[in-house]
Symmetry: C2
Subunit: 112 residues, 2 copies
Amino acid sequence: MVEGTTEGVKAKEKRKTDENVIYVGNKPPMSYVLAVVTQFQASSSDEVVIKARGRAISRAVDAAEITRNRFVKDAEIKDIKIGTESITNEEEGRTSNVSSIEIILTTKKKGK
Amino acid sequence: MVEGTTEGVKAKEKRKTDENVIYVGNKPPMSYVLAVVTQFQASSSDEVVIKARGRAISRAVDAAEITRNRFVKDAEIKDIKIGTESITNEEEGRTSNVSSIEIILTTKKKGK
């Protein structure tokens, strides 16, 4: 509900992405794990946000858990938010509600 | 990780349930919405916990959102936890990891 989603369904994975946001779609979970790990290493920020909608929500949780357990062991879950977004299918002109999740991962590294 | 899950995969929906815990499985989301709403009305507690594993995680989020937006409008999300559980498939003798979620809904009703 934070940003307008008038662009419809197609732009699911790459909307106006903030730099440290990973949008989880239909690829295998490891693709997103890699994206999250890369983001932690590349950015000066120590925070990565994983977002997903609908069925991809479980994949987002998988990606967060795999990252935390296997790759970035000092990562912690700072916050998890769930919400509902209205999606307009432009072809059929229907509006439907879809659940969304936002998982905020953070590392405590200070000297890096 | 809170309780032992040596019983294997089958007992997914009805383990030693605490009274106010709803386990989300493969039924349609509205089944679980109904269970959550009933739990809020029936119990003296003002807290309901929705739990799910694997692909049912997105359904758990759906159930929480539908409950909150349509049926129990004073319900709030108190906390959301995610984790990883080891599941042993007894037939094949394999152990695999599965993500889990726990959504704690609460109402503020005091005089009830």
